[in-house]
């Protein structure tokens, strides 16, 4: 993709304007992906900003975003192209009713681009305007066959439709593949991509994200929120809260017009952070003489004095 970036620093600045705080490692990967025409394979826990990165890059480079959501059983027809069979049948009927004989000319008309339904991958390879940003989301949910099919598309950025011919991308799209690592993706696919692991953010980076997106939030409140989330991530939870959960929580606290975090507010809004009943029970169950795990965490972050119970 042709973008006017001269280095990773430009990527950081552009992404910042789109509301995404990227570190130098991530910015380098995005920069190289755009300049080397290689897909960027993003891996990380849910809610760390993989999908948000693709959206932010699309906004930053002013290109449309085409998203392909993967799922178990996704196939070539759902991802690349399909023929519009009802319209083809109608065309044959109309030709018959107008007295035309069904011959090779009609067949050529049936298998023309007029009756071709372009799915996300074909839309990305032959866009109407400039090359888009293509997001292939949650690739680990798809099947092995689909991965093998992606090898062909991502290595050459071309597809062959038997009835029409080969369609090749004039300008390579910027491709992002995301995975939650629910299973390992095949080595061959990873080899064709640049790899980037997105970890949970550090305290400073998460605080910067929260204060940038919710500027009305008092600084002390934001710090307590982030501190609490960082402390929760140290617990052996089934699903640790990601950045998305932190932002949801900050938004919820803002909507409730709270200027200070208290144990009661935490209890009321814990659903923004904890998404599993087992995790909730693990946190709220009284396991030690000092109280529940949540009370200990609140004490650690300075929200409770250890005597008050929830």
């Amino acid at each position: 993709m042709q973008v006017d970036w001269n280095g990773p620093g430009d990527v950081v600045a552009d992404l910042l304007r789109s509301g995404y705080l990227a570190d130098s490692s991530l910015a380098t990967a995005v920069f190289l992906s755009a300049k080397m025409n290689l897909p960027l394979y993003l891996e990380g826990e849910p809610g760390v900003g993989k999908t948000a990165l693709a959206i932010a890059v699309a906004n930053a480079v002013h290109r449309p975003l085409i998203r392909l959501q993967c799922y178990e059983g996704i196939d070539r027809e759902s991802a690349l192209y399909d023929w519009n069979y009802p319209r083809q049948l109608m065309h044959v009927r109309l030709a018959e009713s107008s007295g035309r004989t069904v011959d090779a000319a009609i067949e050529d008309e049936l298998y023309s681009e007029r009756y071709l339904i372009a799915r996300p991958l074909l839309q990305a390879i032959s866009p109407k305007g400039p090359a888009p940003v293509l997001l292939i989301d949650e690739i680990d949910r798809s099947d092995d066959e689909f991965e093998a099919f992606l090898l062909e598309v991502l290595s050459e950025f071309q597809v062959t439709i038997p009835e029409i011919g080969t369609i090749r991308a004039v300008e390579y799209p910027l491709v992002f593949l995301t995975s939650n690592r629910s299973r390992e993706v095949h080595e061959a696919l990873k080899r064709r991509c640049l790899y980037q692991w997105l970890p949970y953010p550090t305290f400073d980076r998460e605080l910067a994200i929260v204060t940038r997106l919710y500027q009305d939030l008092p600084q002390d409140l934001a710090m307590t929120l982030v501190n609490m989330v960082q402390r929760l991530r140290q617990e052996p939870l089934h699903k640790a809260p990601g950045i998305a959960e932190t932002l949801d929580w900050a938004k919820a606290v803002g909507i409730l017009s709270k200027t200070k975090l208290s144990p009661a507010v935490v209890e009321e809004t814990l659903g923004c952070l904890i998404k599993y009943r087992e995790d909730l029970e693990r946190l709220t169950a009284v396991q030690t003489p000092l109280g529940s795990k949540l009370e200990q965490i609140l004490k650690d972050v300075g929200l409770a004095d250890g005597t008050r119970s929830l």
Binding site: G7, P8, S24, S25, T28, A29, F31, L32, K35, M36, L38, E43, G73, D75, W83, Y85, Q88, L89, V92, V102, I106, E107, L110, D143, D144, E145, F146, R181, S182, R183, E184, H186, E187, K190, R191, L194, Y195, Q196, W197
Partner: protein, 367 residues
Amino acid sequence: MEPVLYNWWLFFRGLRAYGFDISYRDMERVMNAVVLAKPENFVQFFDIVGACLVRTVEQKNLLAYLFAAFIGSLAGVDVILPQESPWLLGLAPPDPHTRQVSWWGGNSAPSTHNARATIFSHAGRASRDETVATQRLVEDISGLHHVEKLAVHQYRSHRRQSASHGRYWNTSKTLRKGLAQGEIMRLWHRRRVWRERLTLILWDTSRSMESVTPTIFQFLHELVHQQRRVEILSFSTRITRVTQPLRHLGSLDALAAIYETAHDIHGGTRITDALATTIHQYSRWLSQRTDVLLLTDGFESGESEPLAVYASAVRRRCRQLIWGNPWDSRPGFAYTTHSLKTLRNNVDRVHAAGTIEELTTTWNAMR
């Protein structure tokens, strides 16, 4: 930056020795990336190398240490590698030719090498007497027990095959036939194809499994003759592929061939290394269409932490990881040791696998 670029090829050789799969194309990719991104410091340099060469987060952690060691050796500072790290313990041993490479210098390199070398020092060939004794046991078992007809494990492929009846409407064929015959009369369909699923069997042939080895051998020999898509790897302190002798030779000849090929029969139990080698060397068989059957007693002689790491890694890479434990149905047996508990927590199911009947039941339950 000049010393780094000047010794670049050494760095790649060192990474290869630590299990990184780096081709000439990858090197070229790193070089192009360096030219494009113009790194100004080592951190940016590391980011570029990481983006181009790393495939997993474990590799990224390892690369961080190795890059530090590389830079440290250039600066004349020894960097001590964390030898207790699970990702280091289970990696394939360095190629002997790479010993001359010394960028990871200081005292850390020899100790790391030696730690890996001990993994293979327990290997020993089974004696002629042991082979004959086992052959006699196999003869006895084959006379007493008969392996029933085993279930064929299949999966429904996403490939759709044209058929006269089926779930999906084959519109293009219907249309084509209709156009050819002048009238759309007959509907054609598609249906999904059933295919045989691959099963990878990791067969523990260590000393502790000695009493059940003839039974398992008899079962596996019958299995590969009944099933087409089965691969068998025997392991004790190293992995050996034994599918071919089992498939193409009679039972006693196959046993003799296995004893001849696998030099570690009746050695120690190294489940972690077996799982790690399976991931590194036989990854082509690991997919979401593959079942992995681990036939072992679970008495791992190494640490249990890496065992958990690699058992879960194999489990993620395959459809299901089943542990066939010969002692599971024995009265009085309990999962008491740390390695037994660890392995049990990192497999999908545990089945008894001490007799032909139990092995048959385990196989048939892997649907």
